[in-house]
C-alpha cells in the first residue's frame, strides 16, 4: 500500500475514533460519579474501531486519549488526571491493556490480509502482461513464418504436379527458390533462439576485433546466394579499422538488415550496403533500399518487438533483435527515409 493512502486511512480512523470517544463520553456523563465500569468498557469500542480502520498507531493515540478522559472525567477525583490508588488504577491499567492488545491483534490481522490482496493483484497484473507479450510473440512468429512456408508449399506442389513437365532450367530455378525460402525459415528460427537466449541473459558477448568490411561482404554474399533477388552492391571505405564485437552477433545483425532490405525494397530495386568512418571514434554501416519507404510513425516503433506494418506484414523480431545486439555493443541503430524514396538503416558502432 502506498504511503499517502496509508496516511489517509490512519487519519480517517483517528477522526472516527475521536468522534466515538466524544459520543461515549457524552453518553456516560449522567452516570457520574458512580459509573466507572460502563465508560471503561464502552471506551474500548472507539479504540477498536480506530484500529480496524486506521491501523495500530492511530489506535494507540485514541487509547491514550480515552485513558486520559477516563482518568479526568470518570475516575475520582473528577476533573483531575490523578487517580485514586487501588481499584481505579487497576481499572485504568486494564482498560489500556485490553484496548491496546485488541487493537494490535486486529490491526495485524487486517494488515496481513490487505498485504496478501495487494500481492495477489500485483501477481495477476504481471501474469496478464506476460500473457499479452506471449500472445504478441505467437502472432508475430506466425506472421513471419507464413510467407516462406506458403511459397515452399506452392512451389513444392507445382514441382509435383504431373500436368506439366518443366524444363531442367525451370526445375533448377524452382529448387533454388525452395532452398532460399527454407534458409529464410531457418533464419527466423535462429532469430527466435537468439532472442530467447538474450532474454534469458544466457548469451554472453564474446568480443574480438572484427573486420567490418569483410563481415559486410560475407553477409551480403550469403543473402544474395541462391535467390534471384534485386542487385546488391557493397561499398566499404578503405582503411577501416577493426571494431571490437561479437562476430556471431554482428553477423546476425548484418544478415537480418540486408535480408530485410532485399525483401522490402521491392522487386528488382537495388539494395546498397556501405561501411565507412563516422568521425574517428566509430564505424557506420548503412543498408539502403529503394522500396516504398517507411511511415515515420512506424519508423519510430519499428525496433520494438512484434510491430507489424498493417496487413499482417511483419517487421517481425528481426529488427528488435538487431537493436538489442547493437545496443549491447554500445552502438546505435536507426531507420531513416532515403533521398528519392526508400529506407536506410544506419548502424553506428564505437571503435572501442
Amino acid at each position: 500500500m502506498r504511503l499517502p493512502q496509508l496516511r489517509r486511512r490512519g487519519l480517517t480512523g483517528g477522526l472516527i475514533g475521536a468522534a466515538g470517544v466524544a459520543v461515549v463520553t457524552l453518553a456516560c456523563l449522567p452516570t457520574r460519579p458512580d459509573g466507572k465500569a460502563a465508560p471503561a468498557l464502552l471506551l474500548v469500542l472507539p479504540v477498536l474501531l480506530t484500529a480496524i480502520i486506521g491501523g495500530i498507531w492511530p489506535a494507540v493515540v485514541i487509547a491514550a486519549v480515552s485513558g486520559l478522559i477516563l482518568a479526568v472525567v470518570f475516575l475520582p477525583p473528577i476533573g483531575s488526571p490523578s487517580v485514586a490508588f487501588g481499584e481505579d488504577v487497576l481499572a485504568l491499567v486494564v482498560f489500556l491493556a485490553v484496548a491496546l492488545a485488541v487493537s494490535a491483534l486486529v490491526a495485524a490481522v487486517l494488515d496481513a490480509e490487505r498485504r496478501r490482496l495487494a500481492a495477489d493483484e500485483a501477481r495477476l497484473a504481471a501474469m496478464e502482461g506476460a500473457d499479452e507479450q506471449r500472445r504478441a510473440l505467437f502472432r508475430s512468429v506466425a506472421h513471419e513464418l507464413r510467407t516462406p512456408l506458403g511459397i515452399v508449399h506452392a512451389t513444392g506442389t507445382e514441382l509435383l504436379d504431373a500436368e506439366v513437365a518443366h524444363s531442367p532450367e525451370v526445375q533448377e530455378h524452382l529448387l533454388r527458390l525452395l532452398v532460399a525460402e527454407t534458409s529464410r525459415l531457418a533464419r527466423i528460427v535462429e532469430n527466435l533462439l537468439a532472442m530467447s537466449r538474450i532474454d534469458a541473459a544466457a548469451w554472453r558477448m564474446e568480443r574480438e576485433p572484427v573486420d567490418v568490411g569483410r563481415a559486410v561482404d560475407a553477409a551480403a554474399a550469403r543473402v544474395a546466394g541462391g535467390r534471384d533477388g534485386p542487385p546488391l552492391t557493397v561499398a566499404v571505405q578503405p582503411g577501416l579499422p577493426d571494431v571490437l564485437a561479437d562476430p556471431v552477433q554482428l553477423d546476425l545483425v548484418l544478415t537480418n538488415l540486408i535480408e530485410n532490405a532485399v525483401r522490402h525494397g521491392g522487386p528488382g530495386r537495388p539494395v546498397h550496403v556501405g561501411a565507412s568512418f563516422e568521425g574517428d571514434q566509430a564505424v557506420q554501416v548503412t543498408v539502403a533500399d529503394q522500396g516504398p519507404g517507411i511511415d515515420p510513425a512506424v519508423a519510430e516503433r519499428a525496433f520494438e518487438p512484434f510491430v507489424t506494418s498493417g496487413d499482417g506484414r511483419s517487421t517481425g523480431i528481426g529488427l528488435a533483435l538487431c537493436r538489442t545486439i547493437v545496443n549491447g555493443h554500445g552502438g546505435t541503430i536507426e531507420l531513416r527515409g532515403a533521398h528519392g524514396g526508400g529506407t536506410v538503416v544506419v548502424v553506428t558502432l564505437p571503435l572501442s
Binding site: R146, I151, H153, V170, L174, S309, D311, R313
Partner: protein
C-alpha cells in the same frame, strides 16, 4: 524467369491469343512461382508489384483474369480491388492470408469473384483460375433479354420460370430471384451481404437467406454435372455449373 515491371512474360511467338493473367504480388518468392506455373499452362503473365502499376496494366492491356494479393505494402488490397473493378469486367481472384476472413469478404463485396487462402497449393490456384475463365465464358454468353441458358439450367425471367433439364422447378418468388442472381454470377462467390441487399433489399436476415438457399439447393438436386450451390462458411455462396 526474371521480369521487369509489368513486362509481358511469355515470349512465345504463338499466334493464338493466350489468356492474359495479371498477377499483382510483391513478394519475390510468390512472384516467381506464380509466373512459372501460369506461364507453363500457356497463359501470358503480367507481373506487377504495386497498385499504381496494376492500374496502368489494366488500362494498357486486355486482362482476362487478375490474381490480386490483398497484402500489398503500398496500398490497401481491398481498395485496389474496388478501383480495378471499375476498369475490369473479367474475374478477379484475391489471395489472402489465413485468418483475414473479414478482408476476404470485403474484397468480394468490392467485386472480386473468388479467393484463395495462403498457403495454397499450385494445382488449387490453377483450378480456380481455370474455373473462373470457364464460367466467365459461360456467363458472357448470357443475353440480357428474358431467356437464358446455363448448362442444364434454363431461366425465363419474363415468365418467372426456371427449368432444369427441361423440367420446371417449383420456386417461390424469392427463390427465383436468388437463383437468377446466382445464375448471372455463376462461378462467383457472392457474399451474404450482396445476396441480402439484392434479393431482400434491407429487410432480410442471414437466417432468412440460409433457409432460402437450403430450400433452393434441395430443389436443384445433386445431379452430377448439374448446378450446385457451394457454401462458403462465414463468407457466402457460389453457384457452380460444370456442364
Amino acid at each position: 524467369m526474371a521480369h521487369t515491371e509489368a513486362g509481358p512474360s511469355s515470349s512465345s511467338p504463338s499466334p493464338s491469343p493466350e489468356p492474359v493473367i495479371l498477377v499483382i504480388e510483391d513478394e519475390p518468392g510468390y512472384r516467381t512461382i506464380l509466373d512459372v506455373a501460369l506461364s507453363a499452362r500457356g497463359y501470358e503473365v503480367l507481373l506487377v508489384g504495386d497498385g499504381a502499376s496494376a492500374l496502368r496494366a489494366v488500362n494498357e492491356r486486355n486482362v482476362d483474369l487478375t490474381v490480386l494479393d490483398l497484402g500489398l505494402p503500398d496500398v490497401d488490397g481491398v481498395e485496389l480491388c474496388r478501383h480495378l473493378r471499375r476498369f475490369l469486367r473479367t474475374p478477379i481472384v484475391v489471395v489472402t492470408a489465413d485468418g483475414a476472413e473479414d478482408r476476404k469478404v470485403s474484397a468480394l463485396d468490392e467485386g472480386a469473384d473468388d479467393y484463395v487462402t495462403k498457403p495454397f497449393s499450385m494445382p488449387e490456384l490453377l483450378a480456380r483460375v481455370r474455373a473462373q475463365l470457364r464460367h466467365r465464358q459461360m456467363v458472357a454468353g448470357l443475353a440480357d433479354e428474358g431467356l437464358f441458358r446455363l448448362g442444364p439450367l434454363a431461366i425465363d425471367t419474363g415468365a418467372h420460370e426456371a427449368r432444369l433439364d427441361g423440367a420446371p422447378l417449383a420456386l417461390t418468388r424469392k427463390e427465383f430471384a436468388l437463383l437468377e442472381l446466382f445464375a448471372r454470377n455463376a462461378g462467383r462467390v457472392l457474399t451474404h451481404r450482396q445476396l441480402l441487399t439484392q434479393v431482400w433489399g434491407s429487410g432480410g436476415s442471414i437466417d432468412t437467406l440460409r433457409t432460402h438457399v437450403t430450400r433452393l439447393r434441395s430443389k436443384l438436386g445433386d445431379e452430377p454435372g448439374g448446378p450446385r450451390i457451394e457454401v462458403h462458411p462465414g463468407v457466402g455462396y457460389r453457384l457452380r455449373v460444370d456442364g
